[in-house]
Symmetry: C2
Subunit: 304 residues, 2 copies
Amino acid sequence: MDIQWVALDWGTTNLNAYAIGADGRITGQLHNNMGMSQLVSSEFEPVLVEAIGPWLSADRVMPVLACGMVGAHEGWRDAGYSDAPCLPVDRKTTVSVPTDDPRLSVRIVPGVCQRQPEDVMRGEETQIAGYLARNPNFDGVFCLPGTHSKWARVADGKIQNFTTFMTGELFGLLTKQSVLRFSTTSHDWDDGAFLGGVKAAMSDPDRLTAQLFAARPRTLLSGTPNEVLKAHLSGLLIGAEIAALREMWRAGDIVIIGDRENARLYQTALATLDISPQVYDSARAIIDGLRPLAQVSAQTPEPV
Amino acid sequence: MDIQWVALDWGTTNLNAYAIGADGRITGQLHNNMGMSQLVSSEFEPVLVEAIGPWLSADRVMPVLACGMVGAHEGWRDAGYSDAPCLPVDRKTTVSVPTDDPRLSVRIVPGVCQRQPEDVMRGEETQIAGYLARNPNFDGVFCLPGTHSKWARVADGKIQNFTTFMTGELFGLLTKQSVLRFSTTSHDWDDGAFLGGVKAAMSDPDRLTAQLFAARPRTLLSGTPNEVLKAHLSGLLIGAEIAALREMWRAGDIVIIGDRENARLYQTALATLDISPQVYDSARAIIDGLRPLAQVSAQTPEPV
């Protein structure tokens, strides 16, 4: 097994690690729930060594490139932020993390922050860099769905500005913890209801907190099925996100970086505006975003 | 102790009972957390008898008038709904609840529903009836803050239409269960920040889910104090509610029915529009709303 370097997408809840071979392909990967929120600073190295130990060899230093909440203040080491407008990833600003294990050369990518209005990202900047590595002249907008969805305007190879929405976290809270949980238990899905929610939010975006509640009376008064109400709720939240960004998605092409299911939902929602965004897999984006740093690290390994 | 009747505000989480004397004044009251969500149908009577037992006497039947979730499908007895437009409380539609205890004559007020768009209330209709009992010619709008805030347009003595917002429940979820909980722990309060949130939501109502998230980067980037972010969050949610109702609060005078703290927040928010709503205490509203039914019941007690 010829592993050249290791890519880490180390977030709040999960660790995703990829072993990259000489041909640039993924030769191994692992996913566990040892996310930042589970760990104190001193626990990151042993967790990492246990996870990727089989990929390490005694006779060389393995470049390990990481992005995500691993670089937060509460993470392994605070990698700080780059101020937008800025390159999404800049090899000069990555932060080296000293390790006890001499087989490791770990670097963490800083997040990106925006001062006005204040906003932050950690991990998404690396996904954007991954797309730009293959499309250096891209001028447009990235949509990165998730717990905290990000929309980022990119031009001249730089993140110009971005906005975060609580879409994914609100959907989780509303369907699991609020009175709406009794209306959204279904594991099925109704695409028509999702589209109805998108259109309702986009046509009346300032009534969101009332539109959200409507799932409750629709259950009580007309017994609307849960799969309809759950999909409609998702549509309302994604539609509100898109409605808030009219000027942004009019600014250029849109690229969605996300997993298949999230990408599909945002594609469906944007189709109502006759927008056909390109979709780019988020894991691939992470690896493509970290690769240039790995090549540097391989040439000039950290002293250990 | 001369108790003529008993008023019950029996909601999802609490039971509030008031003993009303011959002079119409409150001669006793009790409040506990034996709300509808804690009880199955058969448990309501024993819980009530234990609570108000000291107010009962063997030689007469006590009229007990109740409103709230006690009349929900999952409550003591399903009192159904009146369809808006309708009288908020109509003595002809109250539902009698048979009891084992011969000292009780229990009636429950139906909720009010709206078919298009679908919405429901239970308890608020009685508070509105309480205000109308003293102001029969009122033509305007009621604001009833709470877990699920209600705004109701009233004319000709009837609830014409109403809208529910998840304001209170969202505030609770965001400050206790979301990533924002790390930014909103303070027990202090900043009125200026609250007003800032109200104005931000009203000037940009379609960006709510992005505006909510901003508390997180404001903590990370500028260490904005928690009491500022918590008050700002409350202002955003209440401001979004008011922004969604422009046509409603332009329709006439506004009366806020709520507890002192909620009333103060909505007064402060509405003051930004040069609106000075009247405030009416919610407990008093319940009693005034149930009183006419009690008088009927006293004249024609239910057979027991």
